[in-house]
């Protein structure tokens, strides 16, 4: 629930197709993709061999040697994206750091760091475990490190709700803007591209065994064979809309989340969550100009999501896109990146395409597969996590005044 609109005033991105906001956005519009054979380790003997890896990012100059030694790669990416978002928003100049908070989502923490220390422990003994293991692996590490780096002392937090968590983190951040915080850093940057993370992804099912990057992750395509795992994500700075006039990319106006129990039809909960997010935003379905769908990339999950979109909006009544087809599923980072992309789409009046997919006509959705220009006022972002987690948010253009509101 979003009680008062929250303005997105800063965006920082690290992704498989761009290591800053505009680089990612340009690549996204061009239909560039970042899916390739895993290079971080030898994945050739696993059931899945493709990933969306962040490339050519060297966080060391910005972070310094001490932080590089005490953090996992995903925290390093997170700190880079958070610094970009904070600089973009200018909150450091406008607000006391004591009144800025950090509320991020996580899924598996600093997993590669954890694997290395598990290996040190079991192959060499307890004295070989790093002094930094006590926090470099845990789920709260990015929020803590962002808070320390920027001196932010306001109410902060960390949520874990699989791939849906970033939308919940944004909603909590918006709530804290009304409980005393002047600004929040939210979103998520995530990544577990190490062998020990890889086996967990594969064990969970839903990852593709395809080897051709162009046909591996195909949301809403009849050839869909599963997802490609990626890394990266986005951090977003939120401020009260009233404090951000003229500086906002977009307004966060609605949120809802829910849980699909194993005995339930997923469409029931998904539909309720989408409708609740729209109701919370006070935006009618026919006023939504674009949906950034979750696009799980499995035939069954895509069919469920398409069915819900059809029933809420009508068949082919709203353009649907899955920008993450270009980067893979970034765990908690994926939905944060979707919100960042939605905000940029609202800013520029451009809809980025779903790369590679040819939509299954049976889904009855208008899947955007080529870039589309045209002003956007209201966008819905849907996120689903493994295990039943479902969330949705509604963003509107800061220049848009809904009729009859």
């Amino acid at each position: 629930m979003i009680r008062e609109p929250a303005a997105i005033t800063g965006i920082g991105i690290v992704s498989p197709i761009g290591n800053d906001r505009e680089a990612h956005w340009i690549a996204q519009q061009k239909g560039v993709h970042g899916i390739a054979a895993v290079e971080r380790f030898d994945a050739s003997s696993y059931a899945s061999t493709l990933a969306g890896e962040v490339r050519d990012l060297d966080p060391a100059p910005a972070l310094g040697g001490r932080l590089m030694s005490s953090t996992d790669w995903m925290t390093q990416m997170s700190l880079v994206a958070a610094a970009e978002a904070v600089a973009d928003s200018g909150i450091a100049e406008r607000h006391e750091p004591g009144r800025c908070g950090v509320f991020t989502a996580s899924t598996a923490g600093g997993y590669e760091f954890g694997q290395r220390e598990l290996q040190n422990l079991w192959s060499r003994g307890p004295k070989y475990v790093s002094a930094y293991q006590s926090y470099a692996w845990f789920y709260a590490v990015n929020t803590g490190q962002i808070s320390i780096r920027h001196g932010f002392k306001g109410h902060s937090g960390v949520v874990v709700a699989d791939a849906a968590g970033a939308l919940d983190a944004l909603a909590s951040s918006a709530a804290h803007l009304h409980h005393g915080n002047a600004a929040m850093v939210s979103g998520a940057v995530d990544g577990t591209l190490c062998p020990w993370g890889w086996v967990a992804h594969v064990a969970g099912g839903g990852t593709t065994s395809a080897s051709d990057p162009e046909t591996a992750y195909l949301p809403f395509d009849p050839r869909a064979s599963g997802a490609v795992v990626g890394e990266g994500g986005a951090h977003l700075v939120l401020e009260r809309a009233a404090d951000a006039t003229g500086r906002a990319y977009a307004l966060l106006v609605g949120h809802a989340s829910g849980f699909v129990r194993s005995s339930q039809d997923p469409t029931t909960v998904l539909r309720r969550v989408v409708e609740a997010a729209l109701a919370d935003a006070d935006v009618r379905p026919d006023r939504i100009d674009l949906v950034l769908a979750d696009g799980a990339g499995t035939v069954a999950a895509d069919a469920d999501e398409a069915a819900v979109l059809r029933s809420v909006f009508g068949p082919r009544r709203v353009p649907v896109t899955v920008p993450k087809a270009a980067v893979g599923r970034l765990q908690a980072g994926g939905a944060a990146l979707d919100v960042a992309v939605a905000a940029l789409a609202l800013r520029d009046g451009l809809t980025p395409p779903t790369v590679h997919s040819q939509v299954d006509p049976a889904h009855g959705i208008d899947l955007v597969t080529e870039p589309r220009a045209g002003s956007l006022n209201s966008v819905l972002v849907v996120a689903r996590g493994r295990g039943g987690f479902v969330s949705a948010v509604v963003l509107t253009s800061p220049h848009h005044h809904p009729e009859g509101a």
């Binding site: 310094g64 040697g65 001490r66 932080l67 030694s69 004295k127 790093s130 002094a131």
Partner: protein, 87 residues
Amino acid sequence: MPVITLDDVKRALVEGAGVDAGVDLERGIATLTFEELGYDSLAVLETGLRLGRENGVEIDDEQLADIETPQDLADAVNQALAEAAVA
């Protein structure tokens, strides 16, 4: 005889805790405190862990709490080595 030198401390610091740009370990290692060099208590712990492992000793808690400079750390490891030799 001291076994551990400041060079050993410097190497363990670099390997375990890293060095930030602008920190001149070459010059500072002998004259500055860990705090002045930008290292927190965990960096000292991590460096002490490394030196202890390499030399098969452990610095005791009380001594560790008093360590302020790289030389203190070298001294603590050397003392632990001397005690281990006696025992």
